[in-house]
C-alpha cells in the first residue's frame, strides 16, 4: 500500500497558493485527526525546502460533516482508503452528500488559517510521540519541539515512516520511504480489515459454514454416502406407520356403510395381523437404520473433527509469535479441546437429526397435501410462527453460546494459569484470593448457563404450545369433515399421526439450533485461527543456504511489538562470521528484541536483517532456524527426560553427542549425579530442576543443534560465577568459527566477546571492544563502574 495520499481538492487549492516556485514536493500524506482534535483530515506536505501542514475543508468542522466527508474520501477510489477512510460513513462507500462537497471545494476563508509551514533548514529532528490511542508528529527547531499534527493509532505505522522520511530530509540524506504500509480497508468495498493486508471476508464469496465443514468430509466420502443412504432409508421407513394405521382403521375396523364403497377386508383378522406386522417391521427397520446411521455418523463426525483439530493445531504451531502474543493459552487450549468436541458432538448427533428431519418434513408435507390439501393448509397456519420463533431462538442462542464459550475460555485460562502459578500464590499466601477469583469465574460460567437454560426452556415451552395448535386445528377441521362424510376416520388419524411427525422435526430443529449454534460458534473461532496468515515457512522462492557462514547485518532496523511504538530504532550493526558479540544495556533496552529478529520470530517494520548478505525474509525459515541456536532468556523444558529435552534440538543425535553437548554446558556432572541420570524426568516445564540447571540444559540443547549462529540470552544468569566460567571455557572452544550473540547483565560473562554492543532505549549507543569502550568513558564505562566486578575485569584485561 503506497504511503502517499493525493491532496484533496481543498488542500490542493490551499497548496497552490502556498507553493514556492522552486520547491519540489516529496510527499503528501493525510492524517485522520483535524485541528480541533475531531476526526477529519489534515495534510502534511514535505518538500525539499519546507514541511507544511494544511487543514482540509472548514476549520473547525462539526462532527457530522466530518463523518460524511471522510466516508466519501474512502469511496473516491482515487485516494487510498486509509487516508480519510479510517472512519466515516457506515460502510465507507456511501455517496458524498452535496453540501459536504461544496464545503470542501469552496475556498476556505483566510488560507493561512490552520496552516503551519516550517523551513527544513531550521529543523533538527523529526519524530513521533506516541500517546494512548494515537500519536503526534513532531519536529524540533533547536531544542524546541513543534507539534505538527495528530493521528489516530490506525495511522501509527504510516506516520512512523513519515517521521523517518522527514528525518532523512532534515539530515540532508536522500528521501526514501517505504511504500509497504499496511492496508486498513478493503480496496474494493471499503470495509475495514480485521487483519492488516488480509483479503476482505465480505469480498471473498464466503461459503457457508456447512459447505466448509463438508470440505473436511472428503477423506470419508464413501462412508458419508452410505450415511446419506441410511438416513434417507430411515426417513422413508418412518413414513409407513401412519399410513398403515389409516388402512387398519378404514379397511379393517370400520364397517362398510350401506351403499358405500365395498370393503373386502372388513373384519379380516389376517389382514389386521399383516398390517400390524408391517408397522412392527417399520419400527424395526427404523431402529436398525438408526443404529447403522449413528455408527456411521460417529465415524464420519469424528473423522471430520479429527481433520479440523489437526488443521487447527498445525495452524497454531505455524502461526507467528505476534499471534500468540495476543492470545491467552487457556483460550487457545479450549479451542483445540472443547470447541472441536462441540463440533464433533454436533456432527455425530445433531447433523443426522437435521438431515433426517428435513427430509421427513418435505415428504410429510407432500403426503399431507396429497391427502387433503385444504386441511393441510389449515394445519400449517402455526408453522410460520414456529419457524419465526425458531429463528428468533436461534439468533439469541448464538449470542448465549458465544458468551458461554467466552466464560469457558476465561475459566479455563484462569484454571491453567493459577495451577501453573501455584507456587507464587502460596509464596504470597494468596490461595484465598485465587479461590475467590476462581469462584467468580465459576459463578460467571454458571450464570451464563442458567440464563441460557432459562431462555431456552421458556421459549421452548411457548414454542411447544404453538406447535400443538396444529393438532387442535386438525381435530376441529378434520373432525367436521369426518362428520360431514368428506373424510374417513382413518384419514384423520393418519393426518394427526403425520402432523406429529411434521411438528416433531420443527421442535427438533429448535433443539438442533442449540447444538448447531454452539458448534458453529466454536467452528467460527476455529476457522478464525485457521484463516490467520501463518509464518511463511520455507515457502515460495526462499533461498536455502546449506551452511550459513554467520555474517549478520542489521541495516537501519526499526521494530516495535506495537508498530507505532518502536522498541528498536534505526539499529545498524555489521557482524563478521565467527565474531562473538556481547550485548549489554539496561533492562527493557531491546536486547532480547534484537536477537528475536535474527531468528525471525518477528519481522522488522523497516530496514533489513541480513544473514550472509541475504535478507532473512528470503531465507527459508526451516534452514534459518536449523542453523540458528537460541538459549532463551526464560529456559523452557518440555515434560520428559533430560535426554529428551537435550535431543529436542536434534532427535536423531547419538548418546555420545548428547553427552558432549551436556559437558560443554557444564551440565553433565549434575545430570549423572541424579539417580536417573539422563533419564531423569524434568516435570512439567522442567519444574523439578533448579533454574541454573534448566539453563544449562537449554544451553546443551542449543549446542547439540550445532548452530552456525548461537544466541545466548542471559543464558548463564542463574548460574554461579564458577560454573559460568567453566561453561564459558567450554563455549569458547565450541564458539570458535561460529557467530555468537551473548546478552548479559553480569558484564564478566562477556569477557570473551570480540566486540560489545551497548543498547539504550532501543538504539545502539556504543560499539567496541571492552578496552575501547572503557577508554571512551561512555555508557559502557558507566555500567562497568557501577558493577562491583569492575576491578576484576580490569585485571583480566591487563
Amino acid at each position: 500500500m503506497p504511503i502517499a495520499d493525493p491532496l484533496s481538492p481543498a488542500a490542493e487549492q490551499r497548496w497552490r497558493h502556498l507553493a514556492q516556485p522552486d520547491e519540489e514536493v516529496l510527499l503528501t500524506v493525510a492524517s485522520d485527526i483535524a485541528a480541533g482534535g475531531h476526526y477529519g483530515e489534515r495534510w502534511l506536505v514535505i518538500t525539499n525546502k519546507r514541511v507544511v501542514v494544511l487543514p482540509d475543508g472548514r476549520v473547525p468542522s462539526p462532527p457530522g460533516a466530518d463523518g460524511r466527508r471522510n466516508g466519501a474520501a474512502g469511496s473516491t477510489g482515487s485516494r487510498p482508503a486509509e487516508g480519510g477512510g479510517t472512519h466515516g460513513s457506515p460502510n465507507g462507500h456511501v455517496a458524498e452528500a452535496p453540501e459536504a462537497r461544496e464545503a470542501r471545494d469552496a475556498p476556505a476563508a483566510g488560507t493561512a488559517e490552520g496552516v503551519v509551514a516550517l523551513a527544513i533548514e531550521e529543523l533538527t529532528e523529526a519524530k513521533t510521540e506516541p500517546v494512548v490511542g494515537g500519536g503526534r508528529l513532531e519536529v524540533y527547531t533547536g531544542n524546541i519541539p513543534v507539534p505538527l499534527l495528530e493521528y489516530s493509532s490506525s495511522l501509527g505505522p504510516k506516520f512512523s515512516e513519515v517521521a523517518r522520511g522527514l528525518q532523512q530530509v532534515i539530515k540532508g540524506n536522500p528521501f526514501l520511504v517505504s511504500d509497504d504500509i499496511p492496508k486498513l480497508r478493503c480496496e474494493r468495498c471499503g470495509r475495514l480489515l480485521p487483519e492488516k493486508n488480509m483479503t476482505c471476508s465480505r469480498c471473498v464469496r464466503k461459503s457457508a459454514m456447512l459447505a466448509r465443514l463438508a470440505g473436511y468430509m472428503r477423506p470419508v466420502m464413501g462412508l458419508s454416502l452410505l450415511l446419506a443412504v441410511a438416513t434417507g432409508g430411515r426417513t422413508l421407513v418412518q413414513l409407513a406407520p401412519p399410513y398403515l394405521q389409516k388402512l387398519i382403521i378404514d379397511s379393517v375396523l370400520t364397517p362398510p356403510v350401506p351403499g358405500g364403497t365395498l370393503k373386502p377386508h372388513y373384519g379380516d383378522f389376517g389382514m389386521l395381523a399383516l398390517l400390524v406386522l408391517g408397522i412392527a417391521a417399520a419400527g424395526l427397520g427404523t431402529t436398525l437404520l438408526m443404529m447403522i446411521g449413528s455408527w456411521l455418523a460417529a465415524i464420519v463426525g469424528t473423522r471430520i473433527t479429527f481433520e479440523i483439530r489437526g488443521a487447527l493445531y498445525r495452524a497454531l504451531e505455524r502461526l507467528p509469535l505476534t499471534f500468540h502474543n495476543k492470545r491467552e493459552h487457556g483460550a487457545l487450549m479450549s479451542l483445540v479441546t472443547r470447541d472441536t468436541d462441540m463440533l464433533n458432538y454436533f456432527l455425530v448427533e445433531g447433523m443426522p437429526y437435521l438431515v433426517t428431519n428435513s427430509l421427513l418434513l418435505v415428504a410429510i408435507l407432500a403426503i399431507l397435501l396429497s391427502m387433503n390439501w385444504r386441511l393441510a393448509l389449515l394445519i400449517l397456519i402455526p408453522a410460520p410462527l414456529v419457524i419465526a420463533g425458531g429463528g428468533f431462538i436461534w439468533r439469541r442462542m448464538r449470542v448465549y453460546w458465544n458468551r458461554w464459550s467466552q466464560s469457558w475460555a476465561l475459566f479455563s485460562a484462569h484454571l491453567g494459569e493459577s495451577l501453573a502459578g501455584i507456587r507464587v500464590s502460596k509464596a504470597f499466601h494468596q490461595e484465598d484470593a485465587e479461590i475467590g477469583r476462581f469462584d467468580r469465574r465459576n459463578e460467571d460460567l454458571a450464570q451464563v448457563t442458567i440464563r441460557e437454560g432459562r431462555f431456552w426452556g421458556g421459549s421452548f415451552a411457548v414454542l411447544n404450545f404453538i406447535t400443538g395448535m396444529g393438532a387442535y386445528i386438525a381435530w376441529l377441521a378434520g373432525g367436521r369433515e369426518v362428520i360431514a362424510g368428506t373424510m374417513t376416520l382413518g384419514e384423520i388419524v393418519a393426518f394427526v399421526g403425520y402432523l406429529w411427525l411434521l411438528y416433531g422435526p420443527l421442535q427438533w430443529f429448535n433443539n438442533i439450533y442449540q447444538w448447531m449454534s454452539r458448534a458453529f460458534a466454536g467452528a467460527e473461532r476455529i476457522f478464525e485461527v485457521i484463516d490467520t496468515p501463518r509464518e511463511a515457512f520455507g515457502s515460495g522462492n526462499a533461498a536455502h543456504i546449506e551452511r550459513i557462514r554467520g555474517e549478520v547485518e542489521f541495516r537501519d532496523v526499526t521494530f516495535g511489538y506495537d508498530k507505532a511504538k518502536p522498541v528498536l530504532k534505526d539499529v545498524s550493526l555489521h557482524v563478521e562470521p565467527g565474531e562473538m558479540i556481547g550485548l549489554v544495556g539496561k533492562s527493557g533496552a531491546g536486547k532480547s528484541t534484537f536477537v528475536n529478529l535474527i531468528c525471525r520470530f518477528y519481522e522488522p517494520d523497516h530496514g533489513e536483517v541480513l544473514i550472509d548478505g541475504h535478507n532473512v525474509k528470503d531465507i527459508s525459515l526451516e534452514c534459518l532456524r536449523e542453523q540458528v541456536g537460541v538459549v532463551l532468556q526464560e529456559p523452557f523444558l518440555f515434560n520428559g527426560t533430560i535426554a529428551e529435552n537435550i535431543r529436542y534440538a536434534r532427535p536423531e543425535a547419538a548418546e555420545r553427542e548428547v553427552v558432549v553437548a551436556a559437558r560443554a554446558a557444564n551440565a553433565h556432572e549434575f545430570i549423572v549425579g541424579k539417580p536417573d541420570g539422563y533419564d531423569t524426568q524434568v516435570g512439567e516445564k522442567g519444574s523439578r530442576l533448579s533454574v541454573g540447571e534448566k539453563q544449562r540444559i537449554s544451553i546443551a540443547r542449543a549446542i547439540l543443534r550445532d548452530p552456525r549462529i548461537l544466541i545466548l540470552d542471559e543464558a548463564t544468569a542463574s548460574v554461579d560465577t564458577e560454573t559460568e566460567k567453566a561453561i564459558q571455557e567450554a563455549l569458547a572452544r565450541l564458539v570458535k568459527g561460529r557467530t555468537t550473540f551473548a546478552i548479559a547483565h553480569r558484564l564478566s560473562t562477556l569477557r570473551n566477546a570480540n566486540r560489545l554492543v551497548v543498547f539504550d532505549e532501543g538504539c545502539i549507543v556504543e560499539v567496541g571492544t571492552h578496552k575501547e569502550l572503557i577508554e571512551r568513558h561512555g555508557r559502557y564505562w558507566k555500567l562497568v563502574e557501577m558493577q562491583s566486578e569492575v576491578n576484576k575485569l580490569r585485571t583480566v584485561d591487563g
Partner: protein, 197 residues
C-alpha cells in the same frame, strides 16, 4: 550506525537541573528531598505552564524545572481523576500527584489539557451498528469527535468495564472508545451494544 555522537546531537530537552535527580536516587533519602519515596511532592510547589509552541513545562518550586513535561494517569482505568504523574520528555518521573485539585487552578487546567492530549479516547454518543462476524466486531459509531467506524476483536481485553455502566472498547489498532454510561444511550444504540455484551 547510531553512535554516541548522534545521541549527544539529539536535543537535550530536560533542563540541567534534572540531572541531580538520578544521583540522589541512590543516596539516602534526606528529609529535604522533594521527591519522596512514593514520588509525591507537595502539590503547591508544582507549577505547570506553557512555553514556546505551547510546549508544556513544569517547575517544582526551589528544586528544578523541566522544559518539556507530559502528564499521564498512573491508573488510567481504575482512577481516572487521581494519581496523575508528571513525566519529563524521556519518561522519567518528575512527580506524582494524588489529587490534581490540589494544584493551583492554572496548573490544574493545564494538567487536564495535557491528559486530554495524552489519552486520545473518543466518547461514544450513538451506535449506528455493530456487526458480529467470526467474533470480529465491525462498529460504526458517532463520538464526541465525529463519526467513525472501527473493527475490534471480541476479547476480554478489548471490551473493558471501567465501572458498573461504563465501558471501554479497544479496536484492533488500539484506538480507544469510551461509553460513560451505557444506560444513557438511546434504544437503538443499546440494542446494537447488546451484540457484544
Amino acid at each position: 550506525m547510531i553512535t554516541t555522537d548522534h545521541i549527544t546531537a539529539a536535543p537535550t530537552i530536560v533542563g540541567a537541573a534534572n540531572q541531580p535527580a538520578e544521583v540522589t536516587a541512590s543516596e539516602p533519602v534526606t528529609p529535604q528531598d522533594t521527591l519522596r519515596l512514593d514520588g509525591s511532592v507537595d502539590p503547591r510547589r508544582v507549577r505547570l505552564f506553557r512555553g514556546p509552541h505551547g510546549v508544556l513545562r513544569c517547575t517544582i518550586d526551589g528544586d528544578r524545572s523541566v522544559l518539556r513535561a507530559k502528564v499521564v494517569r498512573a491508573f488510567p482505568i481504575s482512577h481516572q481523576n487521581h494519581w496523575i504523574n508528571i513525566l519529563d520528555w524521556k519518561n522519567k518521573e518528575v512527580c506524582l500527584i494524588e489529587n490534581p485539585d490540589d494544584l493551583d487552578p492554572e496548573s490544574r487546567r493545564l494538567a487536564g489539557e495535557a491528559i486530554d492530549e495524552h489519552y486520545r479516547i473518543a466518547t461514544i454518543e450513538r451506535i449506528y451498528s455493530i456487526e458480529n462476524e467470526y467474533r470480529t466486531l465491525f462498529c460504526d459509531v458517532l463520538t464526541n469527535l465525529g463519526r467513525r467506524d472501527f473493527v475490534m476483536k471480541w476479547a476480554s481485553d478489548t471490551i473493558v468495564w471501567l465501572g458498573p455502566d461504563e465501558l471501554m472498547l479497544v479496536d484492533i489498532d488500539t484506538n480507544r472508545f469510551r461509553i460513560p454510561d451505557i444506560n444513557r444511550l438511546d434504544a437503538h444504540s443499546r440494542k446494537q451494544l447488546g451484540v457484544l455484551l
